[in-house]
């Protein structure tokens, strides 16, 4: 049986996991981005007021067991879609989780300004991603081996706005998780 890859998202102080999320809609509350079944019908009810930041998103990749020999060379970054006026995207790749808040992330250390498009994931603002056989905040290795089920680290993002940001939905951006499989 071929292994399945999907994106998951954790929310709330209880680290509530939503499996197989199909979008990443930044918003003004701590809620998941919806699954193939549920969709995401609530993000428009929780817009980010211009001048504020979204709640921080904690999403990650999950691989089911079997079907591959190795998974390695993970990278994460903003690969398409220019940012709108007054909107910036910050992100980081980490193996720790804290209850999502709307407090603005500050660039430095692992936290990157991912606003610029990096189509080839070749700049320092597109960090490497490690893998874990236990959880996105579990102990990490550069490679998943032997078809063992596993997770990426948390792919953390936050949308930040100025008062000059336009109302309504932003343009569509592409955030890419890239990995090599054998």
């Amino acid at each position: 049986v071929a292994a399945t890859f999907k994106f998951d998202e954790d929310n709330t102080s209880g680290k509530t996991r939503t499996s197989d999320v199909r979008s990443c809609n930044w918003r003004s509350n701590d809620a998941n981005s919806g699954t193939a079944t549920t969709g995401d019908v609530t993000y428009r009810n929780n817009p980010i007021t211009a001048g504020n930041s979204s709640f921080i998103k904690y999403q990650y990749g999950e691989f089911s067991a079997g079907g591959f020999t190795t998974i390695s060379n993970g990278k994460f970054g903003h690969t398409a879609g220019a940012m709108d006026t007054g909107v910036t995207l910050l992100g980081q790749v980490v193996s720790s989780y804290t209850t999502p808040v709307a407090t603005p992330l500050v660039v430095g250390g692992n936290i990157k300004d991912m606003s610029a498009v990096d189509a080839s994931l070749s700049t320092g603002n597109s960090p490497a991603v490690l893998f874990s056989t236990t959880a996105p905040d579990g102990s990490t290795a550069a490679t998943l081996t032997g078809g063992a089920a596993g997770f990426t680290q948390y792919l953390v993002t936050q949308l930040q706005t100025t008062t000059g940001a336009a109302p309504g939905d932003t343009s569509t951006y592409t955030l890419t998780l890239r990995y090599d499989e054998q």
């Binding site: 199909r22 990749g61 090599d180």
Partner: protein, 140 residues
Amino acid sequence: MVTLNGTKGTPKYLFAAKFADGKIIEQNTEDRSIVNPQCSAFNDVLEEIKVNPLDQFAITDSEQVWLVDLKDGKFTVNGSSFYLHETDKPYYNRRLIFFHRHWTNMLIAEEYDRQYCLGWHGNVEPSIESHNEEFKLFIR
């Protein structure tokens, strides 16, 4: 093969590996290892390499064929051969490079690109610890 969100798929290209003693390992369409069914078929190549040097490795979609010859570093694409390295420069310990690279869009949870990487890397001196150089093709 890893598939996104459970979408059933088959490999776009299937591989065949030829070893020094003439043994051939071909990828099955299920992409499942015989040695370890938990793994993909490429696992069997990695296991065989431990005891039997790999001479040639090719991928094909039944119409086009990309081949790398580990004996001399030569690439052959649909019958036309070429080198990516300077042929008067010796390389040692040639090893296969093969993987598929997945590009997945987190905002819509879709894979939008997959590249197959085929090539080799080798040391510039006999020591395995010496400087290593890579020569590879990315194929869509």
